[in-house]
Amino acid sequence: VGGRRALDAETIEELEGVLLGADMGAAETERLIGVLREAAATERLAPEEVPERLRELVAGDLRGAARPLRRAASGPTVVMMVGVNGSGKTTTAAKLAHLLRSEGATTLLAAADTFRAAAAEQLGVWAGRAGVDLVRHTAGGDPSAVIFDAVTAAQARGLDSVICDTAGRLHNKANLMAELQKMVRVAGRACPGAPHEVLLVLDASTGQNGLVQACVFTEAVRVTGLVLTKLDTTARGGIVLAVHRALALPILYVGVGEGLADLRPFDADAFATAVLG
């Protein structure tokens, strides 16, 4: 029974703390501990090997998730940023524009949040800093009209991409989700195949509601990938495991700060190390 000591009660409690504390949730925590227990028993894992095995498990679960931004077969790649209020959509839209520009691509930003106070102004400042043009209308206007104008502008100018910011919205507000559905349809009308990416911007400090958000948004507007923001804070972003497991959503980027350059491609190993603290 020598090697089977790897997972004693104290170790299990400690592991539970690490996993639960990272917002993995009770179900995912139980599953991972179950897998570790099995491994410890069958492979006679030494106690000091357990953390690395756990890291490997988490990284393995997410290794297939990373992928680069899609490119439209022809015409501009249309990207829409969606998500609940305050998650980091506007800032991420700007970071993405900056990233694309640094890769030599031409892009423009669309201020399709026509509702929130000074939303277009906020994106306008970012557009200036990123050195890209902004398509905007007056506040209170129809957000779909902004989408339409921005996509047609990108087509007319032969740009590589257009990044559309949208207003924050709670997934349990049917009228707001319907508005988003309309914006997606309009993008498709302006440019067949658009939007090529619908990126759900998820705040890394979100709890279990993040899974509900992802499910409802995906159901409503066919989310194509995730961006996990604010990983530079103490937020761990563990909810992304449950989201990836439930929806097999790719994770394209992580936000690691408030500056234009603070966007990195998702890396499963780096994430697994960080999420386990």
């Binding site: 009770a26 209020n85 980091g88 000074a118 906020q122 349990n172 709890g207 279990q208 408030e258």
Partner: protein, 284 residues
């Protein structure tokens, strides 16, 4: 779970443990911090085991009653009691993580105080986020409350001090200071927040927290309490379907009242905190 228990007469220790397992899962699912859940369940178990069986309740009802009572005790009193200064203006400083809802809440609180017959003044002391000042100015116009904006070359503490000085001459009896979002772990920004605090001596420092926050809320609350001192908490986006367990974690770790909740995007979506409603919401 309560339905199943209610049918029973006497509860065995196994029944109590099973019920507590379900309570634990419900609370974790609701985003209550796992350490707070551990302590909570231990307290309930202790009371359930030790308590005299009351004639009027079945043992099952008694466990339910204990859970609700412990929740109420943790949740604290009904909110919305702001410490108004006997020497106006009362100064309220808002702080919290990026995107928590501070700027929106600043305007909501100003509107709420105005409707109560007070004369509020808003201060846009977030000099870091693009168009943060504009955002508060637009919101201020919408609620009919003036906004003190930064002058060139000012730091956040200067704008805040200006607003307090301006309040005396307006006159305004409450000054609400909006600040930039920041992580409690950011040493430089927490130092900046303390500088603002020390310059204006707020009567209330309110931590604005997202109701959808997960386990991290515990560390955030502790960090702000230790870093700048927190007098009260505001819970935003309660119109979401998040269970809001972060409220319990925050109460457990810093023992400060939750004073207000944000219940929507409109500027009138502000309400005093109701502990019983929050408790039922968390328990699901």
């Amino acid at each position: 779970m309560w339905q199943r228990l209610r049918g029973k007469g006497r509860l065995t220790p196994e029944d109590v443990d099973q019920a507590l397992r379900e309570v634990r899962l419900a609370l974790l699912e609701a985003d209550v911090h796992f350490k707070v859940v551990r302590d909570f369940v231990a307290r309930v178990r202790e009371r359930a085991v030790g308590e005299e069986v009351m004639k009027s309740l079945t043992p099952a009802q008694q466990v339910v009653k204990i859970v609700h009572e412990e929740m109420q005790a943790l949740m604290g009193a009904t909110g919305a009691r702001l410490q108004m200064s006997p020497h106006p203006p009362t100064v309220i400083l808002l702080c919290g993580l990026q995107g928590a809802g501070k700027t929106t809440f600043a305007a909501k609180l100003a509107g709420w105080l105005q409707r109560q017959g007070r004369r509020p003044l808003l201060c846009a002391a977030d000099l870091q986020r693009p168009a943060a000042v504009e955002q508060l100015q637009v919101n201020g116009r919408q609620v009919g409350v003036p906004v003190v904006a930064p002058e060139p070359g000012q730091h956040p503490q200067d704008v805040a001090a200006d607003a307090v000085a301006r309040a005396r001459s307006l006159p305004a009896d409450v000054v609400i200071v909006d600040t930039a979002g920041r992580s409690q772990a950011d040493i430089e920004l927490m130092t900046e927040l303390r500088t603002v605090r020390d310059r204006i001596h707020p009567h209330e420092v309110l931590l604005v927290l997202d109701a959808m926050a997960g386990q991290d809320a515990l560390g955030v609350a502790r960090g702000f309490a230790e870093g700048v001192g927190v007098d009260g908490v505001v819970l935003t986006r309660l119109d979401s379907d998040a269970r809001g367990g972060a409220a319990l974690s925050v109460r457990a770790i810093i023992d400060r009242p939750i004073k207000f909740v944000g219940s929507g995007e409109r500027l009138d979506a502000i309400e005093p905190f109701h502990p019983e409603r929050m408790a039922s919401r968390i328990l699901g």
